[in-house]
Symmetry: C2
Subunit: 203 residues, 2 copies
Amino acid sequence: MINKKSTEDLSTEEKIKEAARTVFMKKGYSATRTRDIAEEAGINLALLNYYFRSKEKLFEIVMMEKMQKLFGGLVGIVTDNDTTLEKKIELLTIYYIDMLTQNPDLPIFVLSELRNNGEHLIKSLPIGNVLQQSALFKQLQVNRPDINPLHFIINILGSTIFPFVAKPMIQAVGNLNPKDFETMMEERKKLIPRWIRSMLQTK
Amino acid sequence: MINKKSTEDLSTEEKIKEAARTVFMKKGYSATRTRDIAEEAGINLALLNYYFRSKEKLFEIVMMEKMQKLFGGLVGIVTDNDTTLEKKIELLTIYYIDMLTQNPDLPIFVLSELRNNGEHLIKSLPIGNVLQQSALFKQLQVNRPDINPLHFIINILGSTIFPFVAKPMIQAVGNLNPKDFETMMEERKKLIPRWIRSMLQTK
DNA sequence: AATATTTTAAATCAAATGATTAAATTATTT
DNA sequence: AAATAATTTAATCATTTGATTTAAAATATT
């Protein structure tokens, strides 16, 4: 029985999942062959079908994880009723830049697969309602009743996430080696909160 | 001879290219089958190989066009020695939001294919040197000698391009129908230049 | 030792896919 | 009109691909 796994030997199932993460992440769904995953995992091809039913099922698991990773961390920050608006912006900036420095390919993977596989995946994450009723949303509304709070959410996420989405372009345009790029992202941790603050004050 | 096409009957070759644009754009390189393109073009499959040598060759043509479309328009604006910094920011914002409203899938396509196919495509566009020596770059440097001008370039492009990259997420999070989304992008044409201006002034 | 579970190797399917060929059709030139 | 070149088609190839199965081997569990 698949589901009855004794405590230690998740290993094979987990090895396959880990390999799937790696390969899907690198090549995207369509360009990935199940044989690539099996090879990367160092297991027999049949085991992939033994543990997961199909390529698509395995992908959905990985995809859900990645979406969770990309958007899950934001929930705790934006719903906190005890932090100021400025503190939230600071925390969001640092959280995203740190997390994306560790996982630079995450946003382009999620966003591009989202375009293909479509909307049913988005709906499975209840992030819409969470954000709309969050403390951050209300604080933005109080601060700038004249502007849709979503604009500022886009700006915060855009200024942190976009550089990673456009990383190959930016490195080429700026003649940056990977180290330079990281340095710039580190600089942005301090700059972005200041920029957003001044945005909010601009009449 | 392929290249000797009399003035009018580009039609078949152009029909294939147009179909390739449509299908590649929608599904990306890997998920696209040559038969999809042939069907979309209403031509026989063999014609694709007759006019273009392979799927990959055809893709490269389309990809170059799309990169040109995404980044080509910026050159004229940023290299203009007769416009102020503020004017350039305003022109860039309007240009990108208008262009991307017409081609919303352009950025995610280019950026995600760029990740796979890699760097040799970027190098074929001389956009790096152009930008570094541009009037915009110098103006930013004069304005804020303490901050790498690239940061502001990222911010300008990020605040215009990112919403389109993250469009499915944003629409879901904000409960926006396509019309709402367009309206917000329209709002950003006025907001972004103000925001960037205040960014530049923030000490 | 007996039984159940997990893993492997190998073979096989059916469908999809990129590419090619040879012949037919259509246009162009002589 | 005949000859030549360009365009289009249908059929076919050889691989690839996702998936499944079978039978045996290895590893745990009872």
